[in-house]
């Protein structure tokens, strides 16, 4: 048998932590990457997938990393772990290249993209500056950046996210690597851009005969483009093999769970599957579908009419132009129902939410909350209503004050809005809400940093619930979470809606998630509503070109993949 491009065997890596103890990041894993193939390394945060790819590059921090004696990483038959620093540098960027999740921060902001490509070329190939420049233009042309001749002088911030990732790919393929490591390369991108970047990586892989190690948490992304898959959890490999074999006949319960906890476009269970459903050992039964849609005669709690929000952009010494972030948006939100707002970055979907919360001042338009316009109210009049409209942000790390305990975080808004008679009553309410969002009672005295991302988002939800709001605006609230955690939070939101009859304004770029949770869908593009209607009918029969394009960009699961799902 031919030697594979990469052979990892018995890889055990421990990290020394601040307190002197060791954390076992990889527990003796073994897998191969054959030549000219795409291997998907799938797992959630903490699974060790990024540690694996970083180890392959020899880029783990030396000071606190302990690699076990018996571990072996071979690239083309040579041991990476035994290489000198100089050999490693020749390997990196030369034979193994890497692209990352966030292209904006992965490019150096103060150098032109041309410089950053030329730098790699000159580092690995003895090229004149002029030849390197020409090669850089060729590379930019190859990755499909428009006007490469002039764009070579552009700085990263002058490009869009998709274009930045194209530049990263240009840097990566500059020296014809044998292996491209793509670490969540499309997670930060819009769905239409994601599709383009995936297609570009697939094209480059074929054209240059590379192997690709595709690290991701999203099974949907890799199904149509990987050859093999390795599923990791807690530093161990759960399952590995050919992608069709693993996905159509998953053996490990964790793989089954991952495949099933992602919201689907074709059906909508009462509640999403979570990992525990599969690890308990019993056969998972898919719940019945939940019917969705606005109902005639259901009370309308919020009616927005012709909402506009313009930002003034300074263009000259005294000249301004209006940037129409939200331009004539109208919709109705029924009590106990969810309106999903979808659109790509810059479409104005978040601005709608922030304007209704009065975090931004509207330019014109009305938002009738129980018949009264909350946008034109004085601050005094709005104050009692403020409590009834709440928002949960995307980043649960940044939106909780790190110096407050969870108890303080929950009690502060109660004090502000005079909820609860005394300290005891407020504490009791706070504890019961923690229980409601699925956190244990001892969470009360802990600080936010002691919780995982999903738990923090639960805390943020509990904070909103203290005020017993009627409307909850979820601004990309589950976008930063792992799929399995995302499923849990979506289930929680659904349970709370069923119990308290809250109305949700659910803002997200993830079309499957919006489809799962929404009764009605509003599609936004450049500040305008291009399509609105019942969730099912919009997805089944999109009218507007843009909606069609969005839906077509969702990674399409191959037939055998859909067939494997538990239904």
């Amino acid at each position: 048998m031919k030697t594979p491009l990469v052979r990892i065997s018995n890889l055990k890596i421990d990290f020394k932590m601040e307190d002197g103890r060791y954390f076992e990041a990889l527990k003796r894993i073994s897998f191969d990457i054959p030549h000219h193939t795409v291997l998907a390394l799938v797992g959630e945060s903490g699974s060790g997938k990024s540690v694996t790819s970083t180890a392959l590059m020899g880029l783990l921090p030396e000071s606190n990393t302990v690699i076990d004696q018996d571990s072996c990483i071979e690239f083309n038959g040579r041991s990476v772990l035994a290489m000198s620093k100089k050999e490693l540098r020749r390997l990196r960027g030369g034979d193994i290249a890497m692209i990352f999740q966030d292209p904006m921060s992965s490019l150096n902001p103060v150098f032109t993209i041309g410089d950053q490509i030329i730098e790699t070329l000159q580092e690995h190939k003895s090229m004149s500056k002029k030849a390197a420049r020409q090669k850089a233009i060729d590379l930019l042309t190859e990755v499909g950046l428009p006007n490469p001749e002039s764009r070579i002088h552009a700085y990263p911030h002058e490009l869009s996210g998709g274009q930045q990732q194209r530049v990263m790919i240009a840097i990566a393929i500059a020296c014809e690597p044998k292996l491209l490591i793509a670490d969540e390369p499309t997670t930060a991108l819009d769905v239409t851009i994601q599709k383009q970047i995936l297609e570009l990586i697939a094209k480059m892989q074929k054209k240059h005969g590379m192997s690709v190690l595709f690290v991701t948490h999203d099974l949907g992304v890799v199904a149509e483009f990987a050859d093999n898959v390795v599923v990791m959890r807690h530093g161990e490999i759960c399952e590995s093999g050919g992608i069709e074999e693993v996905f159509s006949r998953p053996k490990h319960p964790y793989t089954k769970a991952l495949l099933n906890c992602r919201p689907s476009l074709t059906y909508r269970p009462e509640r999403l599957a979570v990992i525990d459903d599969f690890l308990q050992g019993e056969e998972y039964q898919l719940p019945a579908d939940r019917p969705r849609g606005y109902q005639e005669g259901n009370p309308v709690i919020l009616e927005v009419k012709n909402l506009c929000k313009y930002f003034k952009i300074k263009t000259g010494l005294f000249r301004y132009i209006d940037l129409k972030a939200v331009d004539g948006v109208s919709f109705q939100l029924q009590r106990g129902k969810t309106l999903g707002i979808v659109g790509e970055s810059g479409s104005g979907k978040s601005t709608v939410g922030h304007t209704i919360m009065r975090l931004l001042e509207s330019t014109s338009g009305e938002a009738l909350f129980e018949g009264k316009d909350i946008l034109s109210m004085s601050n005094e009049d709005f104050k009692p209503l403020k409590r009834r409209v709440q928002i949960i942000f995307q980043n649960p790390y940044a939106s909780l004050n790190p110096r407050f305990t969870v108890g303080q975080i929950l009690i502060e808004p109660m004090l502000l809005h005079h909820i609860g008679k005394d300290k005891q009553e407020r504490e009791k309410l706070a504890r019961s809400l923690l229980d409601k969002v699925g956190l244990t009672a001892n969470a009360f005295n802990k600080y936010p940093h002691e919780f995982s991302g999903g738990q923090r988002q639960r805390i943020a939800i509990a904070r909103c619930l203290t005020l017993q709001p009627d409307i909850l605006i979820c601004d990309e609230s589950v976008s930063a979470l792992d799929v399995s955690v995302q499923a849990q939070v979506l289930n929680l939101l659904q349970d709370l809606q069923d119990e308290f009859q809250m109305s949700y304004l659910f803002i997200s770029h993830d079309l499957s998630v919006v489809k799962h949770i929404s009764d009605q869908i509003m599609v936004m593009q450049q500040g305008k509503v291009v399509e609105m209607g019942d969730a099912d009918s919009v997805y089944a029969n999109p009218q507007h070109d843009y909606t069609q394009k969005l839906i077509a960009s969702i990674p399409q699961n191959p037939k055998w993949f859909e067939a494997s799902l538990a239904r």
């Binding site: 030369g94 990352f100 966030d102 992965s106 150096n108 902001p109 911030h157």
Partner: protein, 312 residues
């Protein structure tokens, strides 16, 4: 770019006017009457009155302020009240030593701080890093006066390496003989706080994603630090340097005084002691203009270092 510079220069006028008003008010309130000092022992009413007429102090306050404005516009501050020398002459002869001290001080301090900060940041957490941090903290807690006196006593008086005090005539004599001791002391004082601040700038940048990209390209650690990290770390450092300038000017006043350097700092002390308003006015206005120009330069420097900065 040009329109930006023009606009910034235009905005300096109200600032300058504000400083002038403040200076004038303060001097009128607490400056004392220079005629008493100038009259010396012959304190007759006529002498004082004639001195007041001579100095223009008998005019109304608005009139005096108008004269001040005219002086600033023509950059001609008349003659010193105490020595009768033209103010322009005083500034011309005194500016050289001050600039020589300040410039060498600032450049050496920047060079050593950057060197220490980059190396300490690279070996973050090592014994070297901890030692530098501890030494910096200790060095920062000692007053500049202690450095001056200790430096003069040990390095100059005991070891005889430098002259204790004084100033010569030629440029090279001053640069090689009289500047080194105040320079060493000045750098010793300013390197400690700067190293600590720059260290945090470097560490902040070293954790950025683009550093990982640079390493993934196969660049050497030296290139990663000196090219990729350095340029980004310079952005906050430029701010630090510019905002430390006023403190350095204060520091150089002390230095000039203790080392007998005939610079502007010494001159301003003398002028304050003798209520010599023309000299105070001139030096203050020149300083304000210098600081405003440096701030403008800093902003242009930002744009040059960081292309994301928009000038508006």
């Amino acid at each position: 770019m040009l329109s930006y510079i023009v606009r910034r220069l235009w905005q300096m006028i109200p600032t300058l006017l504000g400083v002038m008003l403040l200076l004038f008010t303060l001097y009128t309130l607490v400056g004392g009457d220079p005629s008493y000092i100038l009259a010396g022992k012959s304190l007759s009413a006529e002498t004082i009155a004639s001195i007041r007429t001579q100095l223009g102090l008998d005019k109304s306050l608005p009139e005096q302020f108008l004269i001040f404005v005219k002086q600033v516009l023509t950059m001609n501050f008349g003659t010193s009240w105490s020595t009768q020398q033209p103010v322009s002459e005083i500034i011309r002869t005194r500016i050289g030593p001050s600039v020589m001290l300040l410039l060498t001080w600032q450049l050496c301090s920047l060079f050593f701080s950057l060197l220490f900060a980059a190396s300490v940041a690279y070996y973050k957490g090592s014994i070297y890093d901890r030692a530098v941090t501890i030494i910096s903290t200790v060095a920062m807690s000692i007053s500049i006066l202690v450095y001056i006196i200790a430096g003069q006593y040990f390095l100059a008086y005991k070891m005889q390496w430098f002259p204790v005090y004084g100033w010569g005539n030629g440029f090279w004599q001053n640069f090689l003989l009289y500047i080194p001791l105040p320079l060493i002391i000045g750098v010793a004082v300013s390197v400690a706080p700067d190293t600590r601040f720059y260290r945090s700038c470097f560490i902040e940048e070293m954790n950025q994603d683009y550093v990982r990209t640079a390493r993934a390209k196969g660049l050497s650690e030296r290139k990663v630090m000196l090219k990729h990290v350095m340029r980004n770390a310079l952005i906050p450092i430029v701010t630090g340097v510019m905002s430390s300038l006023p403190y350095m000017i204060t520091g150089s006043v002390l230095m000039e005084r203790f080392f007998g350097i005939p610079g502007l700092g010494n001159e301003i002390l003398k002028a304050v002691n003798s209520s010599d308003f023309p000299v105070i006015k001139a030096i203050t206005i020149y300083l304000v203009i210098a600081i405003m120009v440096f701030n403008l330069l800093a902003d242009l420097l930002y744009k040059w270092i960081d292309p994301r900065v928009k000038l508006n």
